[in-house]
């Protein structure tokens, strides 16, 4: 897997590649992170230390919602890896003052 045009959330994968996404660092976030594959209710809330795994058999989107514990000072780092190898840098963000959640979307593209 590799990122497209320098965006760690926009990823080129192999067909049927197994993807793993996990929060690798966090400060001030709730224990559970929300994941939504292609806008569905699955995988749902998952403990931040638990990896989320799925197969890329089509272009897929994984929505992630980080819930902050307080009104400022939070931060996180999340990383996607693929069974086909390659390296995509982690995506990281700091909580803005007054921001209570952060939502972003991974896109896994296939050839």
């Amino acid at each position: 897997m590799r990122m497209i045009e320098g965006d760690p959330l926009d990823i080129q994968c192999d067909l049927d590649e197994d993807i793993t996404v996990v929060v690798t660092k966090s400060i001030g976030i709730h224990e559970f992170v929300n994941y939504s594959l292609d806008g569905s209710s699955s995988p749902g809330p998952v403990s931040k230390d638990t990896p989320v795994k799925f197969k890329v058999n089509k272009r897929r989107k994984l929505g992630v919602l980080i819930n902050y514990a307080d009104s400022s000072g939070g931060s996180f780092e999340i990383k996607a890896t693929g069974s086909g190898g390659g390296d995509v840098p982690p995506f990281a963000d700091d909580q803005a003052s007054g921001e209570h959640f952060d939502q972003f979307i991974y896109t896994f593209n296939i050839p």
């Binding site: 045009e5 929300n34 806008g39 809330p45 994984l62 009104s71 000072g73 803005a96």
Partner: protein, 494 residues
């Protein structure tokens, strides 16, 4: 009423110096409720986007790389909720949450009841995160008046703040040792009537009249307390998941590679990325707001997109309301604290006080109840003198009055204390004073905040059947001054 203006002016200058230091919120502090909703989140996300764009433009990479980074930052895979809220929310309103921090009634900033000059009859369960500062003039438990300056804080918070950590980062750094240490706090009180220059604050060993250590045995005002784990999961599952799902679905309409791509939204996005990426640093904010609140708002939307935008607005409002309600519940949790205080005597054994403090907020947080139970012993045995000096019980109810947003919360406190002195008191020079007996005290106190400054002025009236040293009833008025740097730091270093 004793008001020593000269001394007060002196310590005000000390407070000014202290205010330049950073400090963080206390461990386990109740989280201030924010009146935000979708508008509050939109404002936070707009401000964050502008700040990040300015950081990019001020960076040291090439212009082409800056433009690329700006365009990535504006992609719908990061900003879908911002775009949806910009479409849905018609107006932004300012927020002032520092008033809510000032409104807290559970912090012990000043000295305890036994300090000379204290205006507190009952010791509170919470302390400032890094450093609180208090000057209180008058007398309560002792018949000798004096001016006591108290510094109270948390060692972990101070270390982190001096290391330039953010306001809450120092609170949330979750290593096991740090979490245990964070439950520990300290205080030191200086009696300025002591020492070589009475009336002048020197902060030396001679003026050190007391020091204390606290440990939180139970703190249910910590949002991460294990008793809240199930409620957090329910909140995240019921409020976070629908929002995440709908935002992921809406992002498809901005994504030119997606079958659901909306040509109007894709065209707006391309135009917005180009305009914002090309904007000068000074024009970033106006360009972002023009794109979000003028250009995007004029894009015709399909019914599907309109429906998703409405859903996101409703989900964000629902999320924010539930979060605020939950945090309010946490803010009313029970605190149980143990405190050890060494009261340093002049030419006499020190008095060692062991105190249990419990605090709760029943009636949906409309009032705060505090209870203390303690006993005091001499630091060493003396021939013919019982080592146990006294034990006491006290209680206090605090009720905020008035509007927090308009004037800051004035707090009315009613308290009572019973103390049994079981041994005569050793006076400076070794003389024994006949102090055995029972002391009963009632007090009414009004604490007036100076809005936005972290300063509070406690004014109290106290009736006692006797004091420790004089067995005559006493009615006394006290006025004080407390300064909680948390309030200032939260503004300077969010």
């Amino acid at each position: 009423m004793k008001t020593k203006v000269g001394r007060l002016l002196l310590v005000l200058s000390v407070a000014t110096c202290l205010s330049t230091h950073g400090l963080a919120r206390q461990p386990g502090r109740p989280v201030a409720r924010q009146e935000s909703g979708a508008e509050g989140q939109l404002k936070a996300k707009v401000d964050d986007l502008v700040k990040k764009l300015i950081d990019i433009k001020n960076g040291s990479v090439t212009i082409a790389e800056k433009e690329n980074q700006a365009k990535i930052l504006l992609k719908p895979n990061r900003q879908t909720i911002l775009f949806a809220l910009a479409l849905a929310v018609k107006s932004l309103r300012s927020q002032d949450t520092s008033a809510l921090d000032e409104a807290r009634v559970d912090k012990q900033v000043g000295g305890g009841a036994s300090s000379s000059g204290s205006t507190s009859l009952v010791t509170k369960g919470s302390v400032p995160a890094i450093l609180g500062f208090a000057v209180e003039n008058g007398a309560l438990m002792k018949s000798v008046s004096g001016t006591t300056i108290t510094f109270r804080g948390n060692p972990v918070g101070i270390i982190k703040a001096l290391g330039n950590q953010g306001f809450i980062k120092s609170y949330n750094d979750d290593t096991g040792l740090t979490r245990v240490l964070r439950r520990l706090s300290f205080a030191a009180s200086f009696d300025t009537s002591r020492g070589m220059e009475p009336g002048t604050f020197l902060g030396d060993q001679q003026q050190l009249s007391a020091y204390s250590f606290r440990f939180d045995i139970l703190n249910k005002r910590d949002p991460r307390h294990r008793s809240y784990a199930d409620k957090w999961f329910k909140f995240v599952a019921e409020k976070g998941q629908p929002l995440n799902m709908v935002a992921t679905q809406l992002s498809n309409y901005f994504d030119s590679s997606d079958p659901k791509a909306d040509p109007n939204l894709v065209a707006w996005l391309k135009s917005a990325q180009d305009a914002i990426a090309a904007a000068a640093v000074g024009d970033v904010e106006s360009t972002v707001k023009d794109q979000l609140f003028v250009k995007l708002s004029s894009v015709p939307l399909s019914k599907e997109v309109q429906s998703l935008v409405r859903s996101i607005q409703e989900d964000v409002n629902d999320y924010e309301q539930s979060r605020a309600n939950f945090l309010e519940l946490i803010a009313n949790g029970t605190i149980l604290t143990f405190e050890f205080t060494n009261m340093r005597q002049i030419d006499a054994p020190d008095l060692l006080n062991f105190k249990a403090i419990i605090e709760a907020s029943p009636w949906s947080g409309k009032a705060s109840l505090t209870g203390n139970a303690s006993f005091t012993i001499l630091s060493r045995t003396l021939t013919g003198v019982d080592r146990v000096h006294d034990f006491d019980f006290s209680g206090q109810v605090d009720a905020p009055l008035g509007s927090v947003q308009k004037i800051g919360a004035i707090v009315l406190s009613l308290s009572g204390k019973y103390q049994k002195i079981v041994e005569n008191t050793i006076m400076p020079g070794g003389m024994m004073a006949d102090t055995k007996g029972n002391i009963r005290i009632v007090q009414a106190k009004l604490t007036v905040p100076v809005k936005g400054s972290g300063v509070k002025i406690p004014i109290s009236f106290t009736y006692a059947n006797r004091t420790e040293l004089i067995k005559e009833k006493e009615v006394r008025g006290n006025i004080g001054f407390t300064f909680d740097l948390d309030t200032i730091f939260s503004k300077l270093h969010p």
